[in-house]
């Protein structure tokens, strides 16, 4: 298993500003993912955070809006840029430990944009 710490757990931000969310894992992991859960919706994959290279974004998500860093095998950040109220969501970090394991999730960051 893996222990995943996300910071902050929640925040209220002004529109037009940016927020960086941190994800720290207690062990080295090969795969890290960022998901978004908008109110009443399912979890949607934003991107795969690749160590040492640019993140791989899913359709509908772009690097300018959601820049991601992954400097090592235990840490990643997701920035939500130039926020609008539509960005109000829960953002979740997820990790994969290998081909024979299931994905683990952090506790999420609840973001409210006003």
């Amino acid at each position: 298993s893996a222990v995943i710490s996300q910071k902050p757990s929640r925040d209220i931000c002004q529109r037009g500003t940016s927020l960086t969310i941190q994800c720290q894992v207690d062990s080295q992991v090969t795969m890290m993912f960022w998901y978004r859960q908008q109110p009443g919706q399912s979890l949607t994959l934003i991107a795969t955070a690749n160590q040492g290279s640019e993140a791989t974004y899913e359709s509908g998500f772009v690097i300018d809006k959601f820049p991601i860093s992954r400097p090592n095998l235990t840490f990643s950040t997701l920035t939500v840029s130039n926020m609008s109220p539509e960005d109000s969501s829960i953002y979740l970090c997820s990790v994969g430990l290998g081909p024979d394991t299931e994905a683990f999730f952090g506790q999420g960051t609840r973001l409210t944009v006003v």
Binding site: I4, S42, L43, T48, G96, P99, D100, G108
Partner: protein
């Protein structure tokens, strides 16, 4: 285009009875299916999974059934306990392990004491 669907947003079940949560999918490339459980203010936690080569997987009180021809899976919880009250998400992927997950919208299960 919702590739994984959970058509029941909520379900209430008497304690001790069986809870049945349903999930449908449309993408034939999905080969691995999972159920996650989520409490408020916590991230989803893995519950049980099934590969497309099986039609049933059981783990204690939890059993997942897969009907590949109907593109349908269900989660059975028996007997249901108050601690089972949570939101349950069905998820699918092309393979087990590191592949990205496609989630349903979730079903809120309430167990009535």
């Amino acid at each position: 285009d919702q590739q994984v669907k959970q058509n029941s947003p909520s379900l209430s079940v008497q304690e001790g009875r069986i809870s049945i949560l349903n999930c449908d999918y449309t993408n034939s490339m999905f080969d691995y299916f999972l159920w996650y459980k989520k409490y408020p203010a916590e991230g989803p936690t893995f519950l049980i999974s099934i590969s497309s080569i099986k039609d049933k997987n059981e783990d204690g009180r939890f059993t997942v059934f897969l009907n590949k021809s109907a593109k349908h899976l269900s989660l059975h919880i028996v007997p249901s306990q108050p601690g089972d009250s949570a939101v349950y998400f069905c998820a699918a992927s092309a393979k087990r392990g590191n592949e990205k997950l496609t989630f349903g919208t979730g079903t809120r299960l309430t167990i009535i004491p």
